[in-house]
């Protein structure tokens, strides 16, 4: 057993050394991939299993909720490999694809180090520990567990946090889709075509041959490919292209309307079939990308570290600390996963001994996706990268202007190169396609085209990648809207009890309306934001996501103390402290920093002063946009401040609970089942 591990360590050291020691010369992407995989295996074997066995004390003899409540439907003891697939499909989304691409403005190294370090010591630890504590509590949700272990105020704070992250996540991801589809008839056509395709699949699945998953998915996949291929003709025919060549604000309104309709119509018609498509396409595309990186072995064109580590980068504002650590959220640590780990997965776990494989291992796989996204962003020319990710306010709207500005930053690029890339992928322009998705699509198309189809197929691959990202973002939009609606109904229902009835159509319409207005407002403001939206909103998303992770880790820490396992509490305390430092610093800087590039309030004040003097500040073009910028600044400052406040509340309650747990003579934890039934007393709901 020892020898293979020694081999992994040696391979890991060699590939890390190749990445680390190659200065000035381009590094091959495959080394980065191999080094990461070795780190994953080593950390799983030596840290993940250590935490599970020693710190958490998993007990293979203990009955899991899947057996205790076995109903063949929700609670089912499930083979660990099948459950791994389920868990991974539930945690994987657009987040790990976008964050690393944006972080690449500082070079591939800082982001890669944070993805690897973050996942090993924070992200995977969080996912596994939450899965563990939820499994010991009949698969109860994060909010429920916080309420029962830390009190109602902490529970309410976590609830608000979840609602906040939900609204922001939908707005930001929808913004990514808008940015990818603006003035792109080919992409817009393909993405819009998924709606009738889903209808066809839904009707087939409902009335013609119910439950034939393979048939309906293949039908959908074929139609989808046809839509991508036919999209080229749409873009080529001016009469047709006219209808699909949409501006950002129009697309935003379409997505808001779509989100509303999709969240009130029956799920089988749109949401279910699209979930099938997006899930299988996601897995397929990721496997293809991993194969592509290994087969093609492209060289990383981006430098390991760029001059923008100083915080003057065009993609997002702020210095390496703390902003890199919130820009890459999902690939290293994602609070969202604590919801999944306390959702369906704990209800299906066969044995506690499988918790590290599914919890820790699932998150390592997610991190691997983030590494691939980082590679995707790094194999394209840095000039092209900055042309795609800087707002028009910075680089202008023609290839010549953009090439001039970007070359002046030290990334030499010619206008011809920029037009050539646009031509290759079948678009009129690639300038200011911010949001990460189009950049990754170019990276993926570059890799795929080298082993499947050459340059001629680059356009198809690019739009395939765009569709793949847009598809699961849109699935997030409608399932997220439903989640928001439920939470709003729950909160408002405490005041107006009749509003809690989720079967009432009026309630559903009002609830969906409110949630669409909430995220729709942020989305629309992001789209018309002269800074380009992603610039302002992505840090907000990252901060709230990390905030939720900090909340989940605080709960884990409190529970470790309650279990009388405080000598292992450093395992969750260290990542908690780091996340709290990052989110609170980033949050406070976003609110109060005197530099208007970073701080929302100082930015608002700068624009207010100019507005009073009737003076238009770039990148705004009119006094009207100026006042919008000011309003947005205050809204964003409020959201950032709220995120900070929630973390502070959780810390206060942790400080109250931990000494109480320490002074108790025995374990005060409320677990269900297990050999010592005397401990079990909870399960109040």
């Amino acid at each position: 057993m020892r020898l293979p591990w020694a081999g992994v360590v040696v391979l890991g050291v060699i590939s890390s050394a190749v990445v680390a020691l190659n200065r000035g010369e381009p590094v091959n992407a495959a080394w980065l991939l191999v080094a990461s995989v070795c780190i994953y295996f080593i950390s799983y074997r030596f840290y993940g299993l250590f935490i599970a066995k020693k710190a958490l004390g998993i007990d293979p003899a203990r009955q899991t909720p899947a057996y205790r409540h076995n109903d063949g439907l929700d609670y089912v003891p499930t083979n660990r490999y099948e459950l791994f697939g389920h868990h991974f499909a539930a945690i994987a989304g657009a987040g790990p694809l976008v964050g690393p691409v944006l972080a690449a403005q500082m070079g591939y190294l800082p982001g890669t180090l944070w993805i690897l370090g973050g996942v090993v010591f924070a992200g995977a630890v969080q996912d596994m520990t939450v899965l563990f504590i939820s499994t010991r509590r009949d698969g109860r949700s994060l909010g429920d567990m916080i309420r029962s272990e830390m009190g109602p105020v902490a529970g309410a704070a976590a609830g608000i946090g979840v609602l906040l992250i939900c609204v922001i996540i939908i707005a930001v991801l929808a913004l990514v889709v808008v940015k990818a589809l603006t003035a792109s008839p080919w992409g817009t056509f393909a993405v819009l075509a998924t709606i009738p395709i889903a209808f066809i699949m839904g009707l087939y699945d409902r009335f013609f041959r119910p439950g034939r998953l393979a048939e309906v998915s293949i039908l959908g996949a074929v139609l989808l490919l046809a839509a991508i291929v036919f999209g080229r003709n749409v873009a080529a025919l001016p009469a047709l292209a006219y209808y699909f060549n949409l501006s950002g604000p129009t697309l935003a309104l379409i997505i808001i309307g779509y989100g509303f309709v999709a969240s009130v119509i029956p799920v089988w018609l749109l949401l279910v079939p699209r979930t099938y498509l997006s899930t299988f396409m996601k897995v397929g595309a990721l496997v293809l990308l991993a194969a592509g990186i290994i087969i093609v072995r492209s060289e990383l064109q981006l430098a390991a570290i760029t001059r923008f580590v100083d915080g003057t980068g065009p993609v997002w504002a702020g210095s390496l600390f703390p902003f890199l650590f919130i820009t890459i959220a999902c690939g290293s640590v994602s609070g969202w996963h604590s919801l999944v780990s306390s959702g369906t997965t704990p209800k299906m776990i066969e044995n506690e001994s499988q918790i590290p494989f599914i919890g820790y291992g699932g998150m390592l796989t997610e991190s691997f996706v983030a590494i691939m996204a980082m590679i995707g962003a790094s194999v394209i020319h840095p000039g092209v990268y900055f042309a795609m990710n800087s707002s028009a306010g910075l680089i202008g709207s023609t290839a010549a202007q953009a090439a001039h500005v970007i070359s002046s930053w030290g990334f030499t690029v010619t206008p011809e190169m920029l037009s050539q890339v646009a031509h290759d992928v079948g678009e009129t322009t690639i300038l200011s396609r911010t949001g990460g998705a189009p950049t990754l699509a170019v990276g993926m198309a570059t890799i795929f085209a080298q082993f499947l189809g050459g340059r001629a197929l680059m356009g198809i691959w690019y739009h395939f990648a765009i569709l793949f990202e847009a598809l699961f973002i849109l699935t997030t939009v409608d399932s997220g809207t439903r989640i928001c609606r439920f939470m709003i109904q729950d909160y408002v229902g405490n005041l107006v009890p009749s509003f809690k009835d989720t079967k009432s159509w009026t309630n559903n319409l009002i609830g969906s309306g409110i949630s669409c207005v909430l995220w729709g407002y942020l989305l629309y403001e992001g789209v018309i934001d002269p800074y380009g939206g992603i610039w302002t909103m992505w840090p907000l998303f990252g901060a709230t996501n990390q905030m939720l992770a900090a909340i989940a880790l605080i709960l884990c820490t409190v529970i470790l103390f309650k279990m009388k396992r405080e000598r292992f509490a450093w395992i969750t305390i260290v990542p908690t402290v780091w996340l709290v430092i990052c989110t609170v610093t980033a949050g406070l800087e976003k609110v109060f920093d005197p530099d208007p590039e970073v701080g929302f309030i100082s930015h608002a004040l700068k624009f207010s002063r100019a507005l009073e003097a009737h003076h238009v500040l770039a990148p705004a073009r009119s006094l009207g946009t100026m006042s919008r910028v000011i309003t947005n600044d205050y809204v964003d400052a409020g959201l950032a401040a709220l995120a900070v406040a929630l973390v502070v509340i959780m810390i206060i309650y942790a400080v109250i609970e931990i000494p109480r747990a320490m002074s108790a003579p025995d374990s005060t934890v409320i677990e269900i089942g297990g050999p010592t039934e005397a401990v079990a007393g909870g399960g109040d709901d």
Binding site: T78, P210, S479, G480, N545
Partner: protein
């Protein structure tokens, strides 16, 4: 060899179903036969609709699906 391949394919198919929230029907049938032999068992179509409905019904502690 062929048996192993078949087993792998069945496992892959079950994984694909579970990824989109559909648990294994055979397991369900077996479970009902053992635990509630006197009660009726849903047909595959009924089972399929039921699990779909459950997946998207929002109730307390019924959080499903991911975003990121």
């Amino acid at each position: 060899m062929i048996e192993g391949l078949q087993r792998f394919c069945r496992c892959a198919a079950r994984t694909a179903h579970l990824m989109v929230g559909i648990p294994d029907y055979e397991t369900y049938v077996r479970h009902r036969r053992v635990t509630h032999p006197e009660e009726p068992i849903m047909t595959y179509e009924e089972f399929y609709r039921e699990v779909q409905k459950r997946r998207y019904t929002m109730e307390k502690g019924q959080f499903r699906g991911g975003c990121c």
